[in-house]
């Protein structure tokens, strides 16, 4: 079989959290693995194919950020941080350390599912090499370097295009100010947030149907920008990044000892 349920690894020391996440994900057709400690999480991530990792920062044996770093040393699996620590500086640090997104506790299941699906789609795009990103009326063709609004080609300056390109490469996920400034203007300008403000304003005038209440290029206050979730493409078979392993059966749920 060439399609299976996406596999999510839940890393949290609180059993109640793991329990509702397991139920919530299983109801939505996911396979759930659990880990209660950092060591278990790392072992679990090396042993099985995983499509997305959800990790709490306050683990009993090591800091969640250390687990992220360890997993990042060999794997590009999407990682979402679940944390009660929520200052913007902490969020930025986590994103720069290799997390793909963060959700602040407490959160609703719907919000978390939306974030997870964004990451899965991005992973799928990366696998299939899909070069276009569609967000509502906006189409960004990364291969042809073309941007279309309602099928009409837009004229962007090189910097405006570069900004949009970096955001499109992470469509649906937040990209930090520092990352954008480094990619577009170079590392000496990483603290010049006003550059971003001015160019985002110009860009929104061109790509947003209503620039005063942007829906496509969204601000994550104090952290960065997010290009809204790409439109749901043709359903198509789910081709997971971990398909190579190909052994997991859709119905099977496993628990990594507790």
């Amino acid at each position: 079989m060439n399609e299976h349920s996406p596999i999510v690894l839940v890393v949290d020391d609180e059993i109640q959290i793991r329990r509702f996440l397991r139920t919530g994900f299983e109801l939505n057709g996911f396979v759930v693995h659990e880990a209660a400690t950092g060591a278990e999480a790392i072992r679990s991530a090396t042993l099985r194919p995983i499509d997305v990792v959800l990790i709490d920062l306050g683990l009993p044996d090591m800091d969640g950020s250390e687990v992220i770093e360890r997993i990042r040393s060999w794997s590009s699996v999407p990682i979402i941080v679940l944390s009660v620590r929520s200052t913007e500086a902490q969020k930025v640090r986590l994103l720069e350390m290799g997390a793909d997104d963060y959700v602040v506790k407490p959160f609703g299941m719907a919000e978390l599912l939306a974030r997870v699906r964004v990451l899965l789609r991005r992973q799928m795009r990366a696998v299939s090499g899909e070069p276009t990103v569609k967000i509502g009326p906006l189409t960004i063709d990364l291969a042809a370097r073309a941007v279309l609004l309602n099928d009409k080609r837009l004229t962007l300056t090189p910097k405006e295009y570069r900004l949009l390109q970096v955001l499109a490469q992470h469509a649906g996920n937040v990209v930090t100010h520092q990352h954008l400034l480094k990619e577009v203007w170079g590392s000496i300008h990483v603290h010049d947030t006003h550059y971003l403000r001015i160019f985002v304003r110009k860009l929104r005038q061109k790509i947003e149907p209503h620039p005063e209440s942007p829906r496509i290029l969204v601000t994550e206050l104090g952290v960065g920008y997010r290009l809204a979730q790409p439109a749901e493409g043709e359903p198509g078979p789910w081709t997971p990044a971990a398909a190579a392993a190909g052994t997991a059966s859709p119905a099977k749920t496993e628990k990594t000892e507790s």
Binding site: I17, P158, E212, L221
Partner: protein
Amino acid sequence: MLSAHTLERLRNELRGVILTIGLVALLTLGVFAAVQASGLGHGSVVYLLPVLIAAIRWGVVSAIVAAVCGVLASAFFFFPPLYSLRITDPQEVVNLFLFIVVAVVVSQLATRLRRQLELAQRREVDLRDLYAFSRRLAGAFGLSDIHAAIEDHLASVLQSDVILFAGGRDGGSGRRPGAPQPVLDAVAKVAAGGGAPSDAAVHAGGGEIWLVHAVSPKNAEFGVVAINLGRKSQDEVDELRVRLDAVLADAAATLERLDVAHAIGEARMRAQTEQLREALIESVSHELRTPLASILGAATVLSAAPALQNEKKLKALVHDVRDEAERLNNDIQNLLDATRISSDGVRPRAEWAEPADIVNSALERCRARLAERRLAVDLAPDLPLVHVDPVLVQQALVQMIDNAVKYSPAGSRITASARAVNSHLAISVSDEGAGLTKAEQAKMWDRFVRGERHAALIGGSGLGLWIANAFVAANGGSMSAVSPGPDLGTTTTIELPVTQAAVPHMEGEEDE
């Protein structure tokens, strides 16, 4: 063995004597030539000149040398028998006596004058040091700042390497590469006090000598200093020890006067309170939020569960659980924010921010709460960028919207607007709700104050606007509220400073 200091003094004295003899010789040559040429009488009075000069410039020894040489020279050249040192004329004896008296008196006067001048100069330097020191103390935020100030002050007064070991508790400020082990031992002994001598000279490796001394024998808080004297003889060390005693007595008096002990105590207490507060906040936010996360998460899973989709009453219950958990979460956040503000802990992370982003994200966060109101958004085009912490301003704005929703009926209109006014950015939220009486306007910004007319009907802790106001104030802004009267609606406004000139330019950004 002579100390370096004595040697230096001898050298100076010798220089003075040699210069004096040279001066007398030169004068003799001149006077002799003048006497030969013009047939003037003898010029013995002229020899008063080198005596005066030597007394003023080089001190009493040189002056007496000048007096003797002068009398001898005049005896030799000008008094009979000529070209002989024999003194026969009583005038010469009088001269000798006169010269010596002048030499002694003038040199004493000159020395005293010079001392006074030096003293005045040193006082000026000391005063400047002291001023700088007290200014640093006034600006010192923590213990380590105060210790660094004391250390630098002593280093500048003593003119040598000084390491301060603060109160013997934290083992030194560690700002300079450490002292050798024997010195550390001596410091520990001195710091322990209780009968042990309050000072010690330590011979560290490599011939270096360190003096270890309690800054003040009375006040252990001032700590212990270790001073690196380098290579010195025993005599010099003894001499320096006496000087150090005097300087430290002075310094300790200064520290007492500036109430440094009090400042140190305060700083230590502040640090402890700060630690306690942070631990409390950390634990509250973790211990309360973790179970809340389970409750809220489970409720959202349940509310979407297929099994419940046809159970209207059960579903309503689950929604109640979810909504109440969310409210509890907001209350916890408010309490945490309030704790942070009370202990003066709001530290804005200012950046150049887009006002429209702040308004939009606040509205986004309140979307569920605004569902039953008609929302109007009015953002002026080309709003100026503001240099603020956008997250804090957004949180203040959320509180304002929250209040507008709380005190207005379902279906009424809420307007969020932003515009530039003179050198300010004004963000306002207007509602068509309960409005404000004069009395309410006066005290609405206080902590734990809630609208009394509605207290029975509308929940809340009364912290919201107080927090909002503190967040805005931390960003250099201000808040205000106006209402035409009870039941006529309220407009709350945040004003943030806009410093148009300060918006930095983009360099080399011709991007067309």
